[in-house]
Amino acid sequence: MLEVKQLSVSFGAVRALDSVSLVVPRGEVTAVIGANGAGKSTLMRTLAGLVKPVSGTAELDGVVVTGRSPEDIVRSGMALVPEGRSTIPELTVEENLHLGGLWRPSAERKATSAEIYEMFPVLAERRRMRSDTLSGGERQQLAIGRALMCDPTCLLLDEPSLGLAPLIVTQILQLVSQLAREKNLAVLLVEQNAVTALRVATTGIIMNLGNVVRVGTAEEIAADDELRDAYLGS
């Protein structure tokens, strides 16, 4: 379980996150939605250790991870799939995948990669090809696969639907919720695409201007037209 307590981040005079608290239980997807500039990506980058918070903590299964380096946070079981195309085009599919677990003993790493290839057969077919030969959806699968290579207990997904066709988005998000259930992962999903995200999530969190403005079940939030008009602009 991931527990964020009063996390605040400032960029100069701008407060990007203002005392954000939230809980991400294992075995389900928690969706954070909100318009551009709501602080969603900052939240994810801070949790992953790329941005240092001014105050507040994040605890992963009771252990404080804020203040650690990104490398150590991954090693303690929380992996971020960053926004955009986060695969390395110059490397092969297999190299990109293995990257996520290079620090683990090679036997464990091979077992995990075999599991991931089973989950994403397309990656297994193309393992020797350069990753920039993959389609957008396949690359997103590869990025998720790389994050799974570290055998995480918590998975952070930043806008996985960005730039993908609606059908592919649905497939990927369904796969994410299946992963959460089957591997008992705490999944924190950040999306601008609110409707699709809330369909696979158990809990929905709405952020606006660096604040959490509403927490509820995904059904509740999806059904609330006022909320949608006020914060999601769709």
Binding site: A48, V74, P82
Partner: protein, 292 residues
């Protein structure tokens, strides 16, 4: 015809050493995306250290080992003390910083060892071999240089393509953020890249010193040749650096042989200019094929 062959053989020997310097430049480029103009200065400095060890112990092997260790340590020092603080600014700042390191190392070497050229005794005979009643411009020492170059290229290629360490280094160079998010200790990888380049540069310095003399500025011209070879080879490619390093040696030998020795650097620079215009990515550059 035999003159032509003589020139080629001579070109191979200087080309092998240029290739090693080009390799060192490529290693630094691959790890930190910086062209390290201090590389020849570091090599010069470590070669002086190797020479001191050789004079003290009389052993070439000990001298080489001392050079390797000194090369790695100096690479780490330059990375940690100069590049890491400067890198936060921008790329051109880093490149200018490497020039600063080059000049400082040369000044320091002059203060410690003086500006007079010193000779470095080779471990095996550096006389032309006599085969079939004729003396050829290739010696047992040249053979040693080829062998060391070949072994280093193969070892480095295997390191980069077959090991986890090599993959970590490549990932750290291509995309440091993704590498960090994958649990790779990126700063350690970058430092390792600089140390490794320092070792390769030290090998190049110790190998070339017996064929020329050693002074604080004696490797300067090699920087131009090695830089050309590395850029023409695509900066990212180990094979490219070696191929064009040897190629540069051959061009130098032929121009020197058939023309004036003073024309050789100009010809090399013209080749560099043409490459930058025609193929800015280099012959083995990224985009065309996967960098080895």
């Amino acid at each position: 015809m035999t003159t032509f062959i003589d020139y080629l053989l001579g070109g191979f020997s200087s080309g092998a050493v240029i290739a090693l310097f080009a390799l060192a430049l490529v290693l630094v480029w691959r790890s930190t995306r910086i062209v390290n103009f201090a590389q020849v200065g570091q090599a010069m400095f470590t070669t002086f250290i190797a020479l001191a060890v050789q004079v003290a112990t009389g052993s070439w092997i000990l001298a080489l080992l001392a050079g390797l260790v000194a090369g790695a340590i100096l690479g780490l020092i330059v990375y940690a003390l100069v590049l890491r603080p400067v890198q936060r600014l921008d790329t051109s700042g880093s490149i200018i910083a490497t020039f600063g390191v080059l000049i400082s190392l040369q000044a320091l070497a002059s203060m410690i060892w003086g500006g007079d050229p010193k000779s470095f005794a080779p471990p095996v005979a550096n006389n032309g071999l006599e085969i079939g009643g004729r003396i050829w411009p290739i010696s047992w020492y040249d053979v040693l240089v080829y062998a060391v170059t070949a072994v280093l290229v193969v070892a480095l290629t295997l390191l980069f393509t077959r090991t986890s360490l090599g993959l970590s280094m490549r990932a750290s160079a291509f995309n440091p953020e993704v590498a960090k998010l994958s649990g790779i200790r990126v700063n350690r990888m970058l430092a390792f890249g600089w140390a490794l380049a320092g070792v390769v540069g030290a090998v190049a310095g110790v190998l070339i010193a017996p064929t020329a003399s050693l002074s604080p500025n004696s490797f300067d011209i090699l920087l131009i040749f090695a830089f050309t070879a590395a850029v023409v080879g695509g900066l990212d490619s180990l094979i490219g650096a070696v191929a064009f390093g040897v190629g540069t040696g051959l061009v130098l030998a032929l121009v020197t042989g058939y023309g004036e020795a003073g024309d050789a650097p100009i010809v090399v620079l013209i080749l560099l200019a043409i490459t930058l215009v025609v193929r800015p990515g280099g012959a083995f550059g990224r985009g065309k094929s996967r960098a080895v």
